[in-house]
Symmetry: C2
Amino acid sequence: MSEQFIELRKMFLRTKDDIHNFMDILTPRIENAKDDHERLYYHHIYEEEEQRLDRLNALIPKMESSLESELLQTPENTEFIRLLQDISLEKFGLHNFLEHLDLALFTFKDTEYAERLHQMRNTTNTDYQTIKGIMNLLNQQFDGAAFAAGSIPTDEKEGVNDSLKIEKYTTTPAHDHEDHNERVTEKKPMKRLTVGSLKGKKEVI
Amino acid sequence: MSEQFIELRKMFLRTKDDIHNFMDILTPRIENAKDDHERLYYHHIYEEEEQRLDRLNALIPKMESSLESELLQTPENTEFIRLLQDISLEKFGLHNFLEHLDLALFTFKDTEYAERLHQMRNTTNTDYQTIKGIMNLLNQQFDGAAFAAGSIPTDEKEGVNDSLKIEKYTTTPAHDHEDHNERVTEKKPMKRLTVGSLKGKKEVI
């Protein structure tokens, strides 16, 4: 079984719990909104996170099924590559959640929910850095095939003016996950890396 | 060539233009935001629409390729079914865009952009109703396989309290697309419908 897939599965289960918590926090704001604008605003974020929940609920069983059949984890298996690409989209989903939480921290900062939102924000930030590292590694192992269109936030895109980015999302903090120290550009995977196993083995020619 | 795919392709090219227009409208708001909260708010919507643009830029060539090889449009072709599911997610994307535009109309209502936003809002609303009809039809033809997790907005979900929905999105206006008159629940496709062709032929036993 793949260590990375096990870690990602745990991460997705953790963020599912956080989505439920976040939806519960948003619910009274939708129901007691002072006007149509406020109601639409909270409804909109609620709906986007509920959609992420739906996606994760479909993705996690596919990951579990893949974990049970490791022999099929090859670049030739299009279903497996699609699975990696779906995971790659959930990387963007975690970044998006981070921004939802940061937006909420502006309007909930003086409420009983502020501490819980801060905790979720910190967990999500750590998880986002972890999934970035894992996806970089998987892209090395599968020669860039784990990349999906729509997986890179504006904040991390090359060729986008800094005036459109938010600085705190553009810097990558140091972290302690052993597989994440090597930065590989996602859009242009290094062609000279060999396709390794999902065990985390790294072989550079 | 499938009439529905041609219509969807036109719709996606149209919404791509609107995404660009919308991003251009948002740009000065991000760059000249009065504080960090406002900057994050506009940046966040910009980023989500840019992600939708990335997804559409990957999806449209796949649709064009599928249009050129109609023989492969079968329920047994997993790549084709995944294409239908990707299109289904863009149905949600159009609903989400509608909400982004409605949110923008609150804050841009007294600006030079209001009329353009209204036009985009109306086009998007019409397109959303059209894609819903087309996806219902494709779900009939492919026995529910065109459904993707994450394709149904909170506003249209059964089992969600009305207090969390926005009324104007829960009602389906009348429209003139001939394929959309027959309503089929997406989550529970009618098992007794035959699998038809993509030409729009409907056979009900």
